[in-house]
């Protein structure tokens, strides 16, 4: 491929993203005039189609690598809470709940960890890496409530909410490079370009998770998923209402975390009650109560 063609291919895709039919016409012209080969034309056409599908085109493997970097970025701001007992407990509970989700298996599986902060917050990185703050765990008075917190985050993973935060057009340049260089190890320039797109992707997602929050509808969707998961496993969805009640009491006006990124607990309770139907009673057998109290004792 000569230098001119190297510039021509990405340019074609960038200009014509979202209009694959037009792309086909132009690439045909490119082939006719000898500017690009048949194979390159096919490659560009495929890229344009891929761009139209945006986040759906992210493979499970990519979702995994995006999730790892999102979690590593969050851990740079929120220190991990290094206490084995609570981390083992949230994994026992969380990984058990995840098996009842619509997406029990992900590329790298579901893993949970506590963040050492009083702030009421939690993050679900794509692929199933879920971080929960000490502050949010303190809003839970029983295991059912903590199960609700984790099930809500699993809901975000299941519904691919993180990937939906990637800005439109962000992957365009990466897709173009990859289409042209398909099957090869990425060379210096291509690697730099794809890494740039990767950086942008991580920043889109962490920016949404940490600062702006998802759209209210996505939070309600995650709450609805939590109700479904809790019921399936055998926990009471009343745990979610109980936790939100506590959160309402603890959230200070203008606080960071859920106070800034989520609908108010009051609004969430209202929406949850609609999907919950009969609330049922929250039973807390002694053994369950005891292990919960022991696990969160130092949190």
């Amino acid at each position: 491929m000569n230098v001119r063609t190297a510039y021509l291919l990405p340019a074609l895709v960038l200009i014509l993203a979202g209009c694959s039919e037009l792309t086909k016409v132009v690439t045909s012209a490119g082939v006719a005039t000898g500017k690009i080969s048949e194979d390159q034309a096919k490659s560009v056409n495929r890229s344009a189609e891929a761009i139209e599908k945006t986040f759906q085109d992210i493979t499970p493997e990519q979702e995994y690598y995006i999730g790892r970097s999102v979690a590593a970025t969050i851990f740079a701001s929120y220190k991990p809470y290094e206490q084995a007992a609570i981390n083992q407990y949230v994994n026992l509970l969380g990984q058990t709940l995840a098996l009842a989700s619509e997406k029990p298996e992900t590329f790298g599986g579901y893993h949970f960890y506590v963040m050492d902060t009083e702030e009421i917050n939690a993050f679900a990185a794509p692929g199933g890496l879920i971080l929960v703050s000490r502050g949010l765990i303190r809003c839970c008075r029983n295991e059912d409530a903590l199960a609700a917190v984790l099930a809500h985050e699993i809901g975000h993973v299941e519904k691919l909410h993180g990937l939906k935060a990637i800005k439109k057009g962000r992957l365009t340049s990466a897709l173009t490079t990859l289409a042209v260089e398909a099957g090869k190890n990425l060379g210096g320039e291509q690697l730099a370009e794809v890494t740039k797109a990767f950086e942008g992707t991580i920043s889109d997602i962490t920016g949404t998770l940490v600062n702006s929050g998802y759209a209210r509808e996505l939070e309600f969707e995650a709450d609805a998923a939590a109700v479904r998961i809790l019921r399936k496993v055998g926990y009471s969805p009343q745990g979610l209402v109980d936790m939100l009640d506590q959160m309402q009491k603890k959230l200070k006006p203008g606080s960071h975390g859920f106070g800034a990124t989520h609908p108010t607990p009051k609004d969430r309770i209202e929406a949850v009650r609609k999907v919950m139907g009969t609330p049922g009673t929250l039973t807390d057998p002694p053994a369950r109560k005891q292990r919960f109290t022991a696990a969160v004792a130092r949190v």
Partner: protein, 162 residues
């Protein structure tokens, strides 16, 4: 006779059409696809199939697919571990044998991989990948989950770990 004919025709109408049957070949879309002896997460793992490798689907039972691996072993995989899309492999990895599919999973499958992560990591040394690695090591086996639920008096309704 007429009544029988009506019943037979009625049955024909409600019978599933061949098009609705489970796809015959699917690709593993998780890092390590677990093929189990029984259609449950508690089922013993017979063999694991790597990401991108195809399996033959024999039948579907709820959320589980009975599959036959390329080596001829038969077992059950959860449907979330499988896709009809063709998996594009990362550059540098061994090309997997994939089933024919009209819908390719992302050209971008060749990027955003370990190579890109290490490049990103080198440029952003403040990020805490060590914590992510520690987190990923915590794996709970389904029998442990079952014991956890039973000990806490949590009775699953359907699906989940059972």
């Amino acid at each position: 006779m007429l009544r029988n004919l009506v019943i037979v025709l009625g049955l024909a109408l409600i019978a599933p059409s061949p098009a609705a049957a489970a796809p015959t070949r699917m690709n593993v879309q998780v890092q390590s696809g677990q093929v189990r002896v029984t259609p449950t997460f508690l089922g013993k793992i017979l063999v694991t199939v790597p990401y991108g490798v195809s399996v033959e689907v024999l039948k579907q039972q709820g959320d589980w697919m009975q599959v036959k691996t390329l080596q001829g072993q038969t077992g059950w995989m959860h449907k979330s571990a499988l896709t009809t899309k063709k998996i594009s492999m990362s550059a540098g990895t061994t090309t997997a044998k994939t089933g024919a599919s009209s819908d390719e999973l992302a050209l971008a499958g060749k990027g955003f991989n370990a190579q890109v992560e290490s490049e990103y990591k080198a440029k952003n040394k403040n990020l805490n990948f060590a914590a992510v690695d520690r987190m990923e090591k915590i794996k709970i086996a389904p029998p442990e989950m079952q014991t956890f639920l039973a000990a806490g008096g949590v009775k699953p309704s359907e699906g989940g770990v059972q």
